[in-house]
Amino acid sequence: MAILVFADQHNGTFPKSSLEAVSYAARLAQTTGTTCTALTTGPVEGDGGLGQAGASRLLVTDLKGQDSQQLTRLVLAAAEKEAAHIIIFSHDLMGKLVAPRVAARLGAGMVSGATALPDVSSGFVVRRNVFSGKAIADIRVDTEKKVITVTPNSVGIVMTGGAAQVESFSADLGEARTHVRETRTESNEHGIPLPEADLVVSAGRGLKGPEHWGIIEELARELGAATACSRPVSDIGWRPHHEHVGQTGITIRPNLYIAIGISGAIQHLAGVNGSKTIVVVNKDPEAPFFKAADYGIVGDAFEVIPRLIEAARQFKSAR
């Protein structure tokens, strides 16, 4: 019996979401009296910090590409080798690509987007958000084998101070039926990808036009934040599509979400209501967003934002 965790890496480093998944698996292994083995594709230096996050072993393979069938065979082979009965992923692109396949192949009960460690006091119950963050569900998994994907930025990382024993691993993966033809990088001003950002500055139709986004970008730059927007703003083309957050855009859970000139429609909130701290700047005191806010400023964005930029600049230089 063991717990296997798939740890995705980018150019040899593990993003926070992978470390969170490993830490989740390690803590679950500890409470259930078993061990945690991590699996990754592509070269890493040493254990890449996964030992610190709680893995006792790390299987490294040299699989290239990201064909879901090959990755599934890889995970299944590793699970068999480790006699793993629980398999953990991050609820990111890789987790969405592979975890459902693994669960279907094993006939395993799956919980996607877990937001807390399983409660194993009676049965095996995992908490997740449903209805786009408007409710919580505790899901009981009734199968012996289980698959869980962990929502990024929700469970944290507990550093244990160990090192993982690294082992190379290979398996018969069959042919790839999907190939990446090309990757186009889209310029992102500060190179902070929105889904992974800790701090986010976001603006809506209240900004009136694309020519006014300079102050939004400037505030984001001073804070070291990524930028986001509401859906109409990306629909009209004021901002790129990948910045659109909400029910039909992306879901984020940063530590800080600053919403400027966004009314706070329920579909927008669905994508951001997991944020730890929400700041709302809106000239309408009745804007629904204030109900979801921790801090609010009722005022004109064009007067408020320059003050925030100035204060952020002073804060930065004082540190």
């Binding site: 879901s68 069938q69 599934t72 969405k96 690509l97 592979v98 459902p100 396949r101 279907a104 192949r105 006939g107 009960g109 996607s112 987007g113 958000n129 449903v130 209805f131 786009s132 408007k134 409710a135 919580i136 569900a137 505790d138 899901i139 009981r140 199968t143 039926r177 999907t178 190939h179 990446v180 033809r181 090309e182 186009r184 990088t185 889209e186 990808p193 889904p195 701090l199 804070l223 599509h241 659109h244 029910q247 039909t248 800080l256 701290t277 700041v279 709302v280 109900k291 979801a292 806010a293 921790d294 801090y295 609010g296 005022g299 007067e303 003050r307 925030l308 204060a311 002073q314 804060f315």
Partner: protein, 246 residues
Amino acid sequence: MKILVCVSKAPDTTSRIAFNADQTAFDENGVQFIVNPYDEWYGLVRALELKETLGGTVTTISVGGADYEPVIRKALAIGADDAVRVDAPESDALYVASQIAAYARGKGFDIILCGKETISFNGSVVPGMVAELLDLPYVPLATKLDIDGQSAVLEREVSGGVEVIEAKLPVVISAAKGMAEQRIPNMRGIMAARTKPLETVAAADASVTTAIKAYSMPPAKGACRYIEPEQAGDLIRILHEEAKVI
């Protein structure tokens, strides 16, 4: 092109979310159901566009009870040729995926198109399971879909850019924003939908692997603390000293 579009229903996005007395089921009283936006706006519409340029058929499949009918008729009104409903409860993702796979097996679909996720359960799980059960390649969260010979050419947003992926047909795809533009059904479509074929099939044998132990509501937010616009600069200090987020 023979395309199967998986269509689920979801509570209207402005619905009040409430549960039954023992907190184990969604309270559907007074709730208006819509076609899950990802399935309708992106999956279904792109399937129709492909049919319009390449020929073929677009069939929808839904797993659920008789109350699914209005949602299925809406999909037919937008332009699907015919529809299938598997008469089975939406017990869990693997159970639903097993029903879809059991129906699709051996029928020669070139593409099985799903939504990125249901806005009720937000799993992003069913399409990947369908792909595995049918032993097909899978491309999740596609924002663009074209056909090039015997392959589908797809785009997907990854952190910092866009990936172009080529997948051999047949393939299972989940559709994200950008794949198509919403279509509003016209009167002719709505009339035609009334007589389009809606086949009901019995559930296949499949096991249920998870259950809802309890639903609950997230803890209420504390009251919003207001800062005067003239003192906006104070916010930065508060975020550092009190909220400790910067």
